[in-house]
Every structure is written in structure tokens, then in C-alpha cells.
Amino acid sequence: MTNALAGFRLQLIWDRLIAIVEEQAQTLIRTAFSASTREAGDLSAGVFDPQGRMLAQAVTGTPGHINTMAAAVGHFLREIPAAEMVEGDVYITNDPWMGSGHLNDFTVVTPVHHAGELVALFGATVHVIDIGGQNSGVNARDVYEEGFYVPIMRLASAGRLDETLLRLLRGNVREPVQVEGDLYSLMACNRAGAQRLLALVDEFGTDALRQAGEHILQASRAAMLRAVAQAPHGSWDAVMEIDGVDEPVRLALRMTIDAEGIHVDYTGTSPASRYGINVPRTYCAAYSSYAVRCVIGPEVPNNAGSLSVIRVDAPAGSILNPQRPAPVCARHMIGQLLPDAVFGALRQVFPDRVPAESSSTLWNLRLASDVGSARPFMITTFNAGGMGARPDRDGLAATSFPAGVRNVPMEITEAITPLVFWRKELRAGSGGAGRWRGGDGQVIEVGHRYGEAFSINATFERVVRPARGAAGGGNGAVGIVRLSSGRLLQPKGRQPIPAGERLVAEMPGGGGIGDPRQRDRQLLARDVAHGYLAPGQVRDFDPDLLQQERA
């Protein structure tokens, strides 16, 4: 076979692997019980070589799951050596340090054998609605209080399910049907991926698959190094302060770029908290790498090769590298803000490529019925505030960045709970002013169909400190969580929504970029016509209007 044809075949296999993991993700969505998986795309799915290196990941998914899973399979292989793996095995864990950062996330890994030889592994992660214990929120004092722990172990051995594990799991969670159903979904999606991969092996052979794997990793690493080479060598520091629970948290980092790649070091960051907002190192690395990849080499496919160019460190005992048994349930709160911190450094190198700060931390509404209610429910609906403005265009309104999950449709939540959504609309003027506006947040007002009391478990950020604008752009609005009667709620912790009241969440806006007086006048006219601006806010953009009013 000529060189050109051989290269063509490698690319063909790479494309096929990407299609296979996308089908794996779709199978997960089609069979999942967890609403966050099937409606919001809160999942990860990927294929790994026999050394545990990720070769391809599904586009559907979120960095918190995907990049942690990229590291997790290596941990699985240390616990269960490849030589001991047999066909029909399925492995599982929800270990926050080995997996995806908190106990709600189950990672399932399935080996694929061809003629008795291990040729690949499939991995997938979902967030289950309940894991027992505190299950969500910031109030646990250690990880033991947070729920039921499953170390890396076999879920199935040569095709036989571990019924003991399933019995224990069912007995320890509030929603055993959903949680067990989700484990079955994880097994099903990996199986679908494995079947497609074996068909690929039938067609091309195991040697070609191995060569394609090496090619993927080498080509991706090389492409990332070329992208890094565009940057000057040096170090840049950035600091971002965020709300925290009862005291602010300081995120400090030094980003160093050299011939080896990019190193992000979080020395100087606050130490671990007594609240469940600590971020296991793997989750910190996941979102930090994601931020770097957004700006440097974004077109390079995400796999072990492209990720190998980025190193992320935080001192042991830091809030970004907490040690067991620190509580970690709400690690997304800080984790999803890490890209903004990293952008603070990247903006100094590539000001024309980096967005302003975003609302970032998802404003998920974790709502539950009161104990003893005749209509029990427990849901999490995913929602996003505004994204920071981009250097050449506005930020996206009510769009989840960096998590990249979909907002769960109201219709779904209303179909499975006694809740009613009275409002879900753009929060006019919440995006920071600028030549490019920050994305607007949204306002959600939700109540109980029968007027019963219910509760919210809040983990909201950007309530005190807003998303900052850049290059003269204005800050986004801070978020507000309150009752319809006007009483403010705390942004963290479990609180009641009294009978007859409704919950109102006004989500933060993203920061703007550039001088608002430079904003294109046609765009401004459109903003006004569409009601995107708050009353009087147009004056920030057009001082002439102020003159006209005075005249």
C-alpha cells in the first residue's frame, strides 16, 4: 500500500473512532434515567487504548467529566491489571479523587477483547440524581457524610453482575430505580461502542488499530506543540477572588509557557475549606486544561496526546488539591470558575483570543419536596447565566460555559415533578456593557402546582463578586436568589421555599469587552429594539443620549 493510502487509512480509522464514541454517547442518552444525562448532555464517553490513553471522546459531554475520565482509566488499570481483564468484565467507581470529583459521578469502564487480546477500553460517566448522604450542597464536613462510596472494583465479572454491590447501592440511595437504571445505561453504551469497535477491527485488523492509536496521539501532541510555539516563552500571573461560602476564596495561578508545553501552577490559592467546595486535583486539571485548549490549539481533537502538553499543579492541601477525606460534593462551584482564572493569565499573552469572565458556575436549581410530602420529588435542573463577551463578538446569553451542558427544558421538569415554571426569560441588561456586550443571564421563577412548601439546596456563585469585564468593558450583573415576596435567600445551603411562595433566580451576566461607546450603532439599535438593555442602560453606550436628555 502506498504511503498516501496508508495515511488515508489512518485518518479513516480516526474518523471512525470519533463516530463510534458519538454513538456510544447517544446510546447513553437514549437509555439514561438521570434527567441531567438525557436532557442536558451531562456525561462523558470515550475510547482508550490498552495503556489507558484516551484516543477519542464524544463531542456531547462536559469537560468536568471528559477530562477527568481521561485520567481515570489509568487509575483503573493500576487497580485491575490488563492481564487480569476478561471479556464480559465491567469496572466501576465513584471515587472523587480517581473519578470525576464527587460521589454522584459513576465512571464505568469496559474492556474490549478480540481473539482473547485486549484491544481497547470504553469509558463513560454519568451524574446520578442521588447517592445517599448529603447528596448535594456544601454542608458535609467530610466525604463520608456525602454519600455511598464505591472504590474501583468490578461491577460485572465475565458477564455476571455483582448483585451484592447492586443491593448495597439500592439500600443506600433515595432513588434506587433511577440510580441502578443509570448503571445499566453505562453498561449498555460501552457495549454499543465495543460492538462497533470490533466491527472496525474485523475490517482493518488489530495492527491497523494500534497504528491509528499511535498516530492519533503523536499527531495531536505535535499539533498542540505547534500551537504552543506561537506563544512567547515566559510566566504570567493571575488572581481571581470568588464568593466562597462564608469567606472569599482566592484563586491564584502562574502560567508558564516553554518548549515543553504549558504549566499552570496554583500555588498561592486558598487552602482547603471545611465546606464541600473543595476541588479534587483531577477536576481542577480538567477545567484548567480545557481553558488552555480553548485558546491554544482549539481545533486539535481532545485526547491523551493533546492533553499531554498541559500540566496542572496545586499544592497538597490547597482548595484545588484537597486530601481525603475532605468534602468535595460541590466541586463544580469553583471548578467551573477555573477557566476564568486561567483566562486572566492567557489574556496577557493572547488578548485577542480570550473572552471576558462568564457567569461560569452553573445555576442549577436543586429542588426537593419536604419530607413526608404526598408528592415526593427531587430534581436538578441545569441553568446558565451569561457568558463573557468574546474579543470580536458578544457573549452568549443564558448559555452554559465552560460546562457546555444544555439547559434542561422546563417541560421535562414540569412533566416529572409538581413544579410550575412561571417565568424563564432573558434578564435584560445583566450582560456587562462594552463594545462587545457580555451575555445576559436569565430569570427563572418556579412554584409548586399545589402550593406546597419545598426546598432548594443552593450552590450559587457570582452573587457578591461579578464576572469582570475586560479592556474597558463593564462587569456583568451579580446573581440574586430570592422568594417571589422579595425576601433574599442565601446563595449557599439548603433553605425552605415556604408554602405558597415561589423561588426567583436572577442569574449573573457575563463581563463585557471594550469601551461601550465604541459599540456599533446598528447593534445598539437592535439591543434597544429587542429589549436586551435595562432601563436607562443605553446611556452607558451612547453619551449623546445623555446630552439629548439634558438639552
Binding site: M1, R38, E180, G181, Y184, Q195, E203
Partner: protein, 263 residues
Amino acid sequence: MANAARVHAIEGGRDVGGYTMIAFGGGAPLHAAAVADKLGMRKVLIPKGAGVGSAIGFLRAPVAFETALSWVQRTDALDIAAANAKLQDVARRARELVVSASAAAPVEDRRVLMRYRGQGHEIEVRLPSRELVEADRAGIEQAFIGEYTRLYGRSIPGLATEIITWLVAVRSPVPPPQRLPEPPAPSRAAPVAGRREHTDARSGRRESLDLVERAELVPATSVEGPAVVVEDETGTYLPRGWRATSNSQGDLLLTRTRDGGTA
């Protein structure tokens, strides 16, 4: 494409080797023989007008009407009488429509979309095409479990199932096709209209392809690969080891003439 066919066939429990592939559409005749090689098939049919096969098919397809009725029911608590009433009503109205466009007695097909309670997506399960009876509750659930296991490898024990949507499709019967007379054995080669240089993807070798006009490939003529049979709407690529002949209707019949056609 071959993978998709294989997977589809495997899911249906079939081995495709002994089948004839029918290829149509602007692109299919270019790839058909090569895909057939991968699947171990020896016969390919390129119908007359293959390049516009979808349009022809649309005109010749049976008259059909399908209704999807949203009516959520727990399978183990299915209201049989209400289900029969709804299905009958829907089927009657569909039959009236179909019969108004095609007089022959129509054929009916009933399916449901089902899932485990708590899931968000359904799979399709066949229903018996008759009035439902009490025993059918268990039968429908068994059919769901069988289909779910086939698709996803495992069913989930102890979970209730539910029916979300009821599908009733009514269509006019398709008359059985008439049998054509056997085409005469080819006795002469079709005239070659030109030649084209080409690189065979598998072997990497340069080859010279004979170009034959489809209109010249009448019954009793043949062309041996490597060749391309050209026409306005498409072109049929014949790899080495394949032969093309024509039947009285103007369809092209491709046959593999020797083993190891995948070399």
C-alpha cells in the same frame, strides 16, 4: 457503509452473503460492487433509472397513512378496552383515506413506543394486529424486554414499563412483481466507448478502465471489469473480477466471476 449493512444484518439475525444487493441513487452504483465484495456478496442489481431511483420509488410506493397517538399507559395496568377502542378508531379513519386512493384491501401494521418508567427515550415494539386481550399486557411487556435486550444487551429486572405512543400504519397492498424471462447468456462484448486511467484503492495499482455506454449494454452483451458503465444519471464501477450484463427490462446485473475478488 459495509459496516452499517453488516450491523443492520446482524441485528436482524441474517447473513448477507447469499443475497443480491440492489443499488440506486446517484452515488451507489459507483460503490456497490466494492461494498458487495466486503460483505461477501456475489450479485448486485442496478435498476433502470438507478440514478433517480428515489423519485421512481416514491411514485411507485404504496399509498399509506400512519397515525401516532400519544396515550401514556403503564403496561401492567393497560386499559385493554380503551386501547382497542382507540386503535380501531384510528385504523378505521386511516383505512378510509387509503382506500379512497387505492381500491385494493389495505394492510395494517401496529406498533408501540415503550420505555422503562423513568427513562426519557422509547424503543419500538410490535403489537399483534388484532383486538388486544387481557393476556396481552404480559405479552407486550415480554416483547419490550426482548427488544431492549437485543438492542442494549441487558434488561433491567424489577422495573415497570410504560407505553407512550401508539402507531397504526395502513397501506395499500403491493402487488407481487411479475417474473421476467431469464436473460439470454451473453455471447458478445459490449462496445467500448473509451478508456480512463484509475488507481485501485486496495491494491494501489494503476489500471485502465473500459468505458461502456449503458444503452449499448443490451441483453446478450456483457462487459468485464475493470470498467465503468456510464449513463446520464450515474455510473456503475465494475472492479476486476466482476461482469455486467443486462435483462430485458434494462436493469444491470453484476456478478462476481471469481473468488478472491477482494484482492
